[in-house]
Subunit: 294 residues, 2 copies
């Protein structure tokens, strides 16, 4: 059994090698393919696809049956970053130190590259080989719509924009992060469970597990903004405060936010304990979310 | 058997009654739902969903099994209109005499409403009741991705934008219309055939049929721009020429464009003749595309 960081690195590499292949085979204008691939290859933690593969691994399944679904969720995540960065949304010029999609390709192509990635992700699920029964594919597609559409991530982005200049309550803040961040992680965990043929009771627990991971991830992001190291987090320390953003530390103070982070990690670990799986990798993921420095 | 215009009107009404119901049931921010519904309810010919139902009718099938798929293709069409109208794309303030989505809801919500409709359309196919086998749902989803994504409509929009200021050849013009317009009509015809359990040879012919209908539709659009009646077409006559757009009449002259229109309609009618179906309604559709005044 490899340790979690080795697992993370090898699976991240596997996903990054695979992602461009879906775009290269498309019969489409080269500018569009180039724009789609630019953002797909712009790095990132690849946490969502790696979580999906880690769940398959925890059930002792062949991870290769989950690669298409793992790439699908990463495509959705990537489309959301492209659209969120647009001038009419967050108007960001840089992401992970590289120019954002619309700075390189222009706004029109950035909108269409996002649309193209969003659309293509459903083909990855629908055409994911004949080892996966059609009933399972349909269920995964339905889960991905709920996670990413109006009821999920897109709805979370609307709530985030509408709450930008307002002082949010903890409940409102959690709504945003549950939808904007946790939902896609929940898709990953649930899809891993469904592809592992896990019992429905397990699927339910995996969904809760990823909810806690998602919220913990966001609290950690907020904490890094006030106590991280600029070179590691890739943006100025304290930018949330400058932008008057409501964050977990702004509502609960740093100590309160750390306590909340630990609570969510604790709940995630307890859910793992209650599952009859090899949870070594998923525990490593919990530690990573809580202890990362970027 | 009702005549074609009665069929068109009743099915258009059915689709327009059904579309908002998919949005109303979503647990999502009310502004997002309102923005999605605004464009869904902004009228239009509803040609794509009606074609799908007309194919089911031609095979003597229960049209109700196709309503979700019909609404899915209309959602995709609607998302594409919202994104195409954005300031960074065609920058249109009006569509069908009403303010465009971003003029009412702002650009950010317009982008997200488009994303939401695009995403939701796949749920309509995935969750389309248990009368449709999972294998069929997966096939429809795969067809809808091809029709609407980088290989289809989104690719056509890229080619359209890139060709805007250039003088296009007939081949380039056809690439744009094949992808931007014909592909979704082809989805409708093919989905109707698949849901009717039609033989693969029929599916192939239906795909060609809708290709000809799509190109004919676009040629007619170009002709209406030079010889239509302003009040009927809802925009100034001659606007393509003012915008220096390459059109069928600009390349072939009006007579040549009319000839080309008739050729495509002729081919569509011949394909219908070669199918063992009740093609009364589909013939009516061909006439409508060729003879419409708006």
């Amino acid at each position: 059994m490899p340790d979690f960081l080795t697992f993370l690195e090898t699976r991240k590499q596997l996903i990054e090698d695979k992602l461009p292949s879906y775009i290269e085979e498309l019969k489409a204008p080269s500018s569009l393919k180039s724009s789609m691939n630019y953002s797909l290859q712009a790095g990132g933690k690849r946490l969502r696809p790696v979580l999906l593969l880690a769940v398959l691994n925890a059930y002792g399944k062949d991870e290769s049956i989950g690669v298409d679904a793992a790439c699908a969720v990463e495509m959705i995540h990537t489309y959301s970053l492209i659209h969120d960065d647009l001038p009419c949304m967050d108007d960001d010029d840089l992401r992970r130190g590289k120019p954002t999609n619309h700075k390189v390709y222009g706004e029109a192509l950035a909108v269409l590259a996002g649309d193209g990635l969003l659309t293509q992700s459903f083909a990855l699920l629908a055409e994911s080989g004949n080892r996966i029964p059609a009933e399972i594919k349909v269920r995964l597609i339905s889960e991905l719509v709920k996670a990413s559409g109006a009821e999920g991530m897109a709805g979370g982005q609307v709530a985030d924009m509408e709450g930008e200049s307002a002082a949010l309550t903890l409940e409102q803040l959690q709504y945003i992060h549950e939808h904007k961040t946790a939902r896609l992680l929940q898709f990953s965990a649930v899809a891993g469970g469904i592809l592992s043929d896990a019992p429905e009771a397990d699927i339910k627990k995996l969904r809760e597990f990823a909810f806690h991971i998602g919220i913990a991830f966001q609290i950690k992001d907020d904490l890094l903004d006030i106590e991280g190291i600029e070179e590691k987090i890739g943006k100025p320390v304290g930018s949330d405060s400058v932008n008057e953003k409501t964050t977990y530390p702004s509502l609960l103070a740093a100590d309160g936010a750390r306590e909340k982070l630990n609570e969510h990690i604790e709940k995630a670990l307890n859910l793992l304990k209650s599952l009859n799986i090899d949870s070594f990798l998923l525990k490593g993921l919990c530690r990573l979310v809580a202890e990362r420095d970027h």
